[in-house]
């Protein structure tokens, strides 16, 4: 059986920064990534990030991915990366089983950081399974990673930051965005993103949602309608829109399946996106030496995932006897950065959610 001090599940922003900080402290780790490259969802973020310089603000996500990967590659002796590898089993005695292509591998470890991220939610409406209906992030992958367009005419459902940003990126790729639908009475994401779209001629229809999709083998039309203040469709407000693609951006939910598998204490917290693990201030779950970082313990921006990764890597290393020479200073800095990222009005629901999972 393979032996390694730390296994990090997920090679996105949280996993990569955790590995970097652990390595800086002297702790060896193995990053397990099911995709064929690391970088997570940063590899499709063509926009400049918010935040402050410490979280690479004003740098485009695609370039942050490169920075984080390069940082990890600076420690070839301490960080091993296995791509195209899925975790298939996770046991309380810290045995992790992996499937790399057709090969089954067992790993014994002392600590695990689960940084699996989140997945896009779906929305219930008639014919929501028609081809041509995608998660907004899926379209981002198709366009910005593979250079393939989803179609010619798109409607976006959801005006959170992802919906607004992906709408803008669709326009940058040459797609006609017909409108953005928002069920709430106000726009969900940052208004700077909304204004950016509006000045390009895209209407954001608040108190509107999709009623049904129409099409035989794939999407041809949608029916939208106006909502009352209880989010019920107002009769007679239906409108048909011809589209070949529809993007759904109604939030993310943590990919917490592995946490359920190993049996840590979990809680459903809607403001964090769904089922999340209970954690202490150092991101340790109810099972000793099982840690979490990033969206899997509450959906936030990638900037927070990066800092959570650093924090968790730092703490885990210390616990296993590899204390970073600047431990105290870094610990306070990471805590301070997270506080700063979350302290505005947009972080309010998140702050309440995070209180609920503190153990």
């Amino acid at each position: 059986m393979k032996q390694i001090d730390l296994v990090i599940i997920g090679g996105g922003p949280a996993g990569l920064s955790a590995a970097k900080m652990a390595a800086e402290s002297g702790l060896a780790s193995l990053i397990v990534e099911r995709n064929f490259n690391v970088g997570g969802q940063l590899v499709k973020q063509t926009h400049m990030f918010f935040g402050s310089e410490k979280q690479y603000a004003k740098t485009r996500g695609i370039d942050i991915a490169k920075i984080l990967v390069d940082d990890v590659l600076k420690f070839p002796d301490l960080i091993e990366i296995m791509t195209d590898t899925s975790v298939v089993g996770l046991y309380k005695d810290k045995v992790v089983t992996l499937l790399q292509k057709e090969k089954y591998i067992k790993v014994k470890t002392n600590a695990i950081i689960i940084a699996t991220g989140a997945s896009e939610k779906v929305l219930a409406f008639e014919n929501n399974d028609l081809p041509g209906i995608y998660g907004a992030g899926a379209v981002q992958t198709l366009m910005n990673v593979h250079g393939v367009l989803p179609g010619n005419d798109v409607v976006m459902v959801g005006s959170g930051n992802i919906g607004l940003i992906v709408s803008y990126q669709l326009i940058q790729a040459g797609v006609n965005v017909k409108c953005v639908l928002e069920a709430a009475s106000t726009i969900g994401g940052y208004k700077v993103h909304a204004s950016k779209l509006k000045r390009l001629g895209v209407d954001i229809l608040t108190s509107h949602s999709i009623k049904k999709a129409i099409g035989k083998n794939y999407l041809e039309k949608i029916v939208i309608g106006k909502l009352d203040d209880k989010w019920k469709f107002i009769e007679g407000t239906e409108e048909e829109i011809e589209v070949d693609s529809l993007c759904i951006s109604v939030g993310l939910s943590p990919l917490s399946n592995l946490l359920s598998m190993i049996g840590v204490d979990m809680k459903y917290v809607s403001t964090l996106g769904g089922l999340v693990p209970l954690i202490d201030k150092n991101h340790e779950t109810s099972i000793k030496n099982i840690f979490v970082a990033g969206d899997v313990c509450g959906v936030e921006e990638a900037s927070s995932a990066i800092v959570e990764g650093y924090l968790t890597g730092l703490v885990v290393a210390e616990k296993l006897g590899f204390k970073h020479p600047n431990y105290d200073e870094l610990y306070l800095d990471f805590k301070d950065q997270l506080h700063n990222l979350r302290s505005g009005p947009f972080g309010e629901k998140l702050r309440l959610g995070l209180q609920e999972i503190m153990r």
Partner: protein, 160 residues
Amino acid sequence: MLNTNGVPDKALIKTKFPDEKYLIKPLAITECYEKIPCNPCSTSCPFDAIYIGEDINTAPIVDFEKCTGCGICVYNCPGLAIFIVQKLNEENARFKIPYELRPLPIKGETWSGVNRAGEIITKVLIEKVSLTNRHDRTALIQVLVPLEYINDFVTIRRQI
């Protein structure tokens, strides 16, 4: 309304503009109305003219005495929410705006001038297109706009 369709109303826009006497020189207008965790405009300013401070959720405040209208903050703003404006004379204003679409305009071309609601309001002259490595793929477009649209103009659109 900004909250319902992304269009700030006139009174709100005016809060970000300086007194007209300052506009004889080019100045940065930060159309950032919310408290969001972000500060590259402040950290990228070589003249220390944009204040945000320790709490990065604070909305930026421009010191119009210090601001030189260089445009560095324009392409460093992740929200593309900053532009430069100057009252040139009684006919025209000069803008520097961020632009991230293709095709790029070419110096000397006439494009449509667009307002915050996405409507074409006037014709504008493209005076300069800057896009070097330091712009990091956000082009800076210098545009000549009829003065009457100084509070309305926000971006350009190719004339079809």
